[in-house]
Symmetry: C2
Subunit: 350 residues, 2 copies
């Protein structure tokens, strides 16, 4: 029921994703009078779906507390998350209200053992391919232990999504040395260097410019900065696309040039299309929930469902649990340098 376009686009996206992963099955939650007619026009999807009517829908502008109060146990958003809890579903996907989705997911699924705070991980297109950036706004502020938790969870997600055995991890920081504050980042960096974690390759601090370069597979930061960085990049991409459009329509020569280079521009648009890398993954909960961008079209929705598929098929939760088991049992033998020598961390980038 969520997103800027509602069930029309969500279901069309599900049908596209189904074509790519024919083994998938859907449990759909929403308002009967709105969803049924759309589903009737998508017979392939209907054949692989079960539909549950939910009388309440969370609105895009509901505050999380309001959504919880009005929608717990009965809204389509809650029911989708609950299906993950009961094991009926492997993963929940929603294009709805992010704050409400996180509040309900936390309330229903609870955070994993040892984890204090969940995070939202974004998939970030880079010059090298894709990276994972977290937290992009689940909570504000994070202490050093939470930043390490984010590192472990992000690495597990990179393993599940990119099939990299030991993803590289960087902590987002600013270049100026000897600047006071942000001690959590420095402390997390020190701990990650001193105590290598088998499942990730810690590469030290990275800066804002490293996000687009794809310097590391996983960029870790607290949610305020991560959210600002994500939206700044989005805004910059839109700004440049707007400059480009204006430049290409300004003169006849430019318009002719545009026609010749049209397929190149189409490729570029494809590269810059935020739809292509859609899907914010909620990490740290006892279940996987994916947030699709509210403005995503059918292709974008399909991309988020692809991510959901990858997370379920590659056992994201089991990977996170295994890594945390390793981290939290490793704390004791850390002082025994011999055992850890083999996985000595690389020098910090700066």
């Amino acid at each position: 029921m969520g997103g800027d376009h509602g069930p029309e686009v969500i279901l069309a996206g599900a049908q596209i994703a189904l074509e790519r992963h024919p083994e998938m099955r859907f449990i759909l939650f929403g308002q009967e009078d709105v969803v049924r007619p759309v589903l009737a026009r998508l017979p392939k999807l209907a054949a692989r779906s079960v539909f549950h009517h939910c009388p309440v829908s969370v609105r895009m502008d509901d505050k999380p507390s309001q959504a919880l109060r009005q929608g717990r146990h009965k809204s389509s958003m809650w029911k989708a998350i609950e299906a993950v809890k009961t094991g009926e579903a492997d993963v929940a996907v929603s294009a709805g209200n992010t704050g409400a989705l996180m509040a309900m997911a936390k309330f229903c699924l609870r955070t994993m053992a040892n984890i204090e705070r969940p995070a939202i991980a974004a998939i970030w297109p880079t010059l090298r391919g894709e990276s994972i950036v977290l937290d992009v706004g689940a909570t504000i502020g994070a202490d050093s232990q939470q930043l390490i938790d984010f590192s472990v969870m992000g690495a597990a997600m990179a393993r599940a999504l990119f099939h990299i055995e030991r993803p590289t991890v960087g902590l987002l920081n600013i270049g100026v040395e000897e600047v006071k504050g942000q001690d959590e980042v420095k402390e997390a960096g020190r701990l990650l260097k001193e105590t290598p974690i088998a499942g990730l390759d810690y590469r030290g601090f990275v800066e804002g410019t490293d996000l687009g370069k794809g310097t590391v597979d996983v960029v870790v930061t607290e949610g305020f900065t991560g959210n600002i960085a994500l939206k700044t990049a989005e805004g910059t991409a839109k700004q440049i696309a707007s400059y480009l459009r204006a430049a290409m329509t300004r003169t006849w020569m430019a318009k002719i040039g545009y026609l010749f280079a049209k397929s190149a521009f189409d490729r570029l648009r494809d590269k810059m299309d935020p739809n292509k890398v859609n899907g914010g993954v909620f990490l740290g909960l006892n279940g996987v929930v994916i947030k699709s961008h509210g403005s995503a079209d059918a292709e974008g929705t399909a991309a988020a469902i692809d991510v959901a598929h990858a997370m379920a098929a590659n056992g994201l939760l089991a990977k996170i649990e295994a890594d945390f088991g390793q981290v939290y049992t490793q704390v004791a033998p850390v002082t025994d340098a011999g055992e850890l020598e083999a996985s000595e961390p690389k020098e910090a980038l700066q």
Copy 2:
């Protein structure tokens, strides 16, 4: 002596700026054997310059404390800042080590009365023109009062640079409501709404996407987030430029299209050229210091000197002082609603 290219580019930039502002005079500080030969090839600049030999140069990788220890009272960087203190110069421009420059500027010029922390303000190209974003990395973290100080200083700079009588100001925040933390931003927002400041038009919270849109003239945030946002935008612009280059050289059709649209691409490159909007302004000190980007070429250096010229010619310091005088004497009559009614602030954007 600073920057990636040294005096060659700095002096060439100064000569370009001089052509635009023939009334300008330069006091140059540096090492004689390096600067003199370059200056000899630029007779117009030489005619409007005084040169002072300085035996010590701050290196780009010196730590601020190290630079202060070794370069205080004798480095070219110190001498340039000192010339502002003594009134010999109106403004100092350096392409050197940012951390060292800020440390020396603070040490030599001291912060203004009532101001606890200086800020670095960046000029941000937007779809609407240009905005000012601060702090982009002078210090990490800022309490609500410091965010208000940044708002006042940023507005004064906008007035000096853009000639807008009452610049619009927004506080950078994330969209998710009811998220805990970042109380300083909320508190600053509350204060700015409750106590209108004559010199600025507070518009509420803005998000990362608003930076590129140019929603407000002045975007205020603490230095860690500001620095990450600035570098993320820089990185994203480079990333898209790289996609564009790749797309335009991939096929013969695209290459022909590129030739037709070449002047359009040149305009675009111009728009995206970080050189065009160069110059980080140090605000909150008893003197104006401008940081030119280390990688700036001669045109970029000239752009930073243009900013320096505007700051000096339009009396930035006097504007800041006047605004602070107003803010800090206004604290008393604030409870008298009648007097302030006329300048009731606009509703927050969100």
